[in-house]
């Protein structure tokens, strides 16, 4: 077990070197808008949200999975999302649903992120003309 642990840590380390395309700060800042957007597409549960994000980012955005659950709990505290129990294949699963306040919040984040995107695009374009 111990040997296996070391091997896996090494594998994850190698993976981190190659796959971590985003800085820690960017991942932290983008987690909430991403979670809200995923929930905008329909109610979902923790593991499926993680899978969905991996799929959309083509594996480039690797969350430390455990950090998603406290974020969900925080969003629920702020009344942006709401959890409920759903029976599925004989087991009870905790689903999350986007509340109207959450939808509004997601929209305001969308504005913020696209405005930052526009600013950077303009700057990159201007730089393109200079070189």
């Amino acid at each position: 077990m111990q040997y296996l642990d070391i091997l896996c840590i090494y594998a994850v380390y190698i993976e981190d070197l190659g796959m971590s395309d985003y800085s820690k700060e960017l991942v932290a800042a983008s987690t909430i808008p991403i979670v809200l957007e995923v929930l905008k597409q329909g109610d979902n549960y923790g593991y499926a949200i993680i899978k969905r994000v991996q799929e959309i980012s083509g594996g480039a955005l690797n969350w430390k999975e455990g950090t998603l659950y406290p974020v969900l709990s925080k969003l629920e505290d702020r009344k942006l999302i709401q959890s409920y129990q759903k029976d599925e294949n004989g087991r009870t699963r905790k689903y999350y649903r986007l509340k109207p306040a959450g939808k509004k919040f997601a929209e305001s984040m969308q504005l913020e992120w696209s405005s930052v995107n526009q600013i950077l695009s303009k700057l990159w374009k201007a730089q393109g003309h200079l070189t």
Binding site: M1, D5, T31, Y45, K64, Y69, P70, L80, K94
Partner: protein, 224 residues
């Protein structure tokens, strides 16, 4: 020999989710973690790993245990309140310990007697209210700077308690050999010690409640 040790995936997942939640998550939150590990290990097993390997990989993907626990702690007010109570009790004891040191020395130099209620008060005899408050406050502040309680440094508290008890034992034997002091002075010492102990505990509880309110924000969730 291969296969002599059986790996019970279900049990491992249950144990690990209990370990992660450290008693601060409610039933549905813990079930959510169990569900996460079950689903992820199932996917990994389908991709060819055995149960044990799948569990190791999913634990690694989940992230550092302390980091995740810290995140849960920050978003769970119920847990925070328990920590505050624990913190206050432990810090209260440490505080009394620190306040005890100088009075012991002043007793001994004055040839004082040993009194179980008096030790924390000697230094405050004859001083005014501001000095008392200053010393109590400074002591509390120092303790809070030195030791931050969370699940990872409870050993430090046990060490402080052991040192306190040792000092107590040593002082008992030394003071037992000294002449007694006048009873009215002993009564004054006793009253002072009650004042200091109750006062310092109250300040600690208020200060830690204030800290707990400010520690609420999570690093990851701080964008809202």
């Amino acid at each position: 020999m291969e296969g002599t040790r059986t790996f019970d995936l279900e049990k491992e997942i249950n144990d690990y989710s209990i370990e992660l939640s450290e008693g601060r998550l409610d039933h549905s939150d813990r079930l959510e973690l169990v569900d996460h590990f079950k689903e992820e290990t199932r996917d990994l097993i389908e991709n060819g790993l055995n149960a044990e390997e799948a569990f190791v990989v999913s634990r690694l993907r989940f992230g550092d245990r302390n980091l995740v626990s810290d995140e849960f702690r920050k978003v769970n007010p119920g847990y925070n309140l328990n920590q505050v109570m624990l913190k206050s009790v432990f810090l209260g004891i440490s505080c009394v310990m620190i306040l005890s040191i100088s009075p012991y020395i002043s007793y001994l130099s004055a040839g004082g007697m040993f009194d179980i209620f008096a030790p924390t008060s000697g230094i405050f005899i004859g001083t005014d209210l501001f000095v008392k408050i200053f010393f109590t406050g400074a002591g509390l502040y120092a303790i809070n700077l030195l030791v931050k309680i969370d699940h990872r440094n409870s050993e430090i508290y046990i060490m402080i308690l052991i040192i306190y008890l040792l000092m107590f034992v040593v002082m008992y034997f030394i003071s037992g050999q000294l002449p007694t002091i006048d009873p009215s002075y002993a009564k004054k010492l006793w009253q002072n010690s009650v004042w200091v102990n109750v006062g310092s505990l109250l300040i600690l509880i208020i200060y830690n409640l204030y800290l707990a309110c400010n520690e609420y924000d999570s690093n990851i969730a701080e964008t809202i």
